[in-house]
């Protein structure tokens, strides 16, 4: 009986094997490696963690308005050196709050955070959960610092409250997923600083020196000292250009550019407009000042009005001299170009802030046969003006033009101070070149700044 049973079982096994062999059974053969793979996965050794970063320090970021903490560390022994398998560093942060805080709200859509109504410092409205570690940044291997800068608005997701303690950890991560954490840093909090020391040293101090130079030269000029100012062709041509317009009985066009009234180039242009308008009033020539900005128009109206008054011709002034066109770049250009071509302006001034419209304006004026004097502080537009205009005030010459036209000692003194300050800057630049060329640390340290 038993023999027959064994025979039956053996026959079934043999039949199965025969069927498997006859049908090729790739699945059967494939199954084994797949199983073995699964076994391999479950039994694979955990990735080898790298050496953790060391000497992790978190400090409040200096010279700022608060809401930022800087974290620095020494590289893991396996970063660049050792096994050289560190892929990146993750910086984690946890608030160290000494509650309990009354919980105002747990948002239904994101219960992972809580909004605290108040803390020990009486501030309110941010969301942190004590004991939870948040990743605040990742940096690639080789990096040794990260600034955890947050927003200052309490409703923002990245808000970092001042005077609330945080602790940090830095984790070295390998490509295989190995992780090694540094010890937790002592608690640190951010705060707003009263003075920006870098700005005071690198900007404030030179500005004071510059102011002293200006006041010194103004004093010298007022005491009667002769100050030589090199002639500027563009400024010398102003009288000629106004005279030409008078002789031809054609209007003068003055374009203040696309800048707002608070831009220094526009303010410089107001000063030049004042002096040009005074000469125009004396010659009783027509002046046209189409404006792009309504605030600029208001200031320009007052400037021209006063210039006519100073010239002793208040009756010649009318409010249509300075008028608003549009606050849209190319429609403004179309209007000004149309004015040039219809009115056949004898002289065009383009002084102020200009963008892509500079060449369109200047080329149209050139085609109309006008004398053109331009000036802007936009480096990218200067070549267009140089090509298309008769005279161009390059960069700083725009700011100097008012002093040239006025010839007042006080204003000439500022130009002289400007030149001497450039000499000082050249000396500093020379020092920097020496420092960089010969790698002199103390010189290079002077130039290191964080503005």
């Amino acid at each position: 009986m038993a023999t027959r049973r064994h025979f039956f079982i053996g026959s079934v096994i043999a039949a199965c094997l025969s069927w498997a062999l006859l049908t090729g059974t790739p699945a059967s053969y494939a199954q084994e490696p797949s199983d073995s793979t699964a076994v391999d996965t479950t039994t694979a050794p955990a990735p080898i963690p790298p050496a953790p970063p060391s000497n992790v320090q978190a400090t409040d970021t200096p010279n700022d308005n608060g809401h930022a903490i800087g974290v620095v560390w020494d590289l893991s022994a396996d970063d660049i050196r050792g096994r050289n398998n560190v892929l990146m560093y993750e910086v984690l942060r946890t608030p160290k709050m000494e509650g309990p805080f009354p919980v105002d709200e747990v948002p239904a859509d994101d219960p992972s955070y809580r909004i605290f109504a108040s803390n020990a410092y009486g501030e309110a409205g941010w969301r942190f959960t004590s004991g939870e570690w948040d990743t605040v940044g990742q940096v690639p291997s080789g990096a040794t610092s990260l600034e955890n800068r947050g927003g200052k608005i309490r409703d923002s997701r990245d808000f970092i409250p001042d005077y609330v303690d945080f602790q940090y950890r830095v984790i070295a991560v390998t490509a295989e997923g190995g992780r090694a954490s540094s010890p937790t840093t002592p608690p640190v909090h951010s705060r707003g600083h009263l003075f920006h020391l870098d700005r005071i040293l690198h900007i404030g101090f030179p500005a004071v020196l510059y102011t002293v130079l200006i006041l010194g030269f103004i004093g010298a000029a007022q005491r009667g000292r002769k100050l030589y100012i090199r002639p500027l062709a563009g400024i010398d041509a102003v009288d000629e250009a106004i005279g030409r317009a008078t002789e031809m009985n054609r209007p003068i066009l003055y374009v203040l550019g696309l800048g707002a009234a608070d831009e220094i180039a526009t303010i410089a242009s107001f000063s030049i407009l004042s002096r040009v308008a005074k000469k125009v009033a004396e010659h009783r020539t027509e002046l046209l000042v189409p404006c792009y900005d309504a605030v600029v128009m208001s200031v320009a109206q007052e400037t021209v009005k006063q210039a006519y008054l100073d010239a002793g011709r208040p009756d010649d002034y009318n409010e249509d001299i300075v008028y608003f066109v549009t606050q849209d770049q190319f429609p403004y250009v179309a209007a000004v170009n149309g004015t040039m071509l219809r009115r056949q302006t004898a002289t065009n001034f383009y002084l102020g802030v200009f963008y892509a419209e500079s060449l369109i304006l200047a080329e149209t004026g050139s085609l109309a046969g006008s004398i053109q004097i331009s000036g802007t502080d936009r480096v990218t537009q200067i070549p267009f003006f140089v090509v298309a205009c008769d005279y161009t005030l390059i960069g700083e010459e725009l700011y100097a033009a008012s002093a040239y036209l006025g010839r007042e000692p006080k204003l000439l003194g500022t130009l002289k101070a400007q030149d001497w300050f450039k000499v000082c800057l050249l000396a500093v630049l020379g020092l920097g070149v020496v420092g960089a060329a010969f790698n002199v640390d103390w010189i290079l340290a002077i130039f290191r700044m964080s503005l």
């Binding site: 700005r199 608003f324 179309a334 060449l359 500022t414």
Partner: protein, 207 residues
Amino acid sequence: MKRQLPIIIIFILGVFMVFQYHIPHETSEFFYEFIALDWPPIIGMFALTLGIISLVRVSITRVRQRQDNWQYSIVTLVALTTIMAAGFIDTRGADAPPVRWMFDNMIIPVSSTMFSLLAFFIASAAYRAFRARSVLATILLVSAVIVMLRFFPLGPLTDPESELSRWILTVPNLAAKRAIIIGVGLGIVSTALKVVLGIERSFLGRD
């Protein structure tokens, strides 16, 4: 007092802004945002009303006096009133379909047309600039050709990796640009000081 008051305000605010720049504290930032960021748009809105009044007045004067090309002023007035009326009728303002239609089908094509003129003006300006009438103009021409060859698709003549072109852009060109920028920076500080200290007051109307 009419002249003294603006000078006093300029001095106080100018000095405040100098100190504010060196004080990063939040309180200092609050005043900066309040004075420098919040006020200009408010003033701008009032000034825009003055601007529109100015535009209307100038246009009406031209039409009344039948000045040259007075017809264009009628077009200006009609366009101004139409787009304003469309904005008032449909309270969605700039998103109102009539306003949007006029913007998409009139303002944008006209603006694009003006902008496209730039291509032709650049060609004519380049022709004038590159005429080799002197040594300096010849140097300019040669430099420009070298730089242009870097970008123009002219087959074997084009060399995007041209070291000479890169040198022209990063050494002499950049040096000149930086010199201008430094000069502009000093000029800005100088002008700002003149305005804050009341030395330059011609823009207020009197020397």
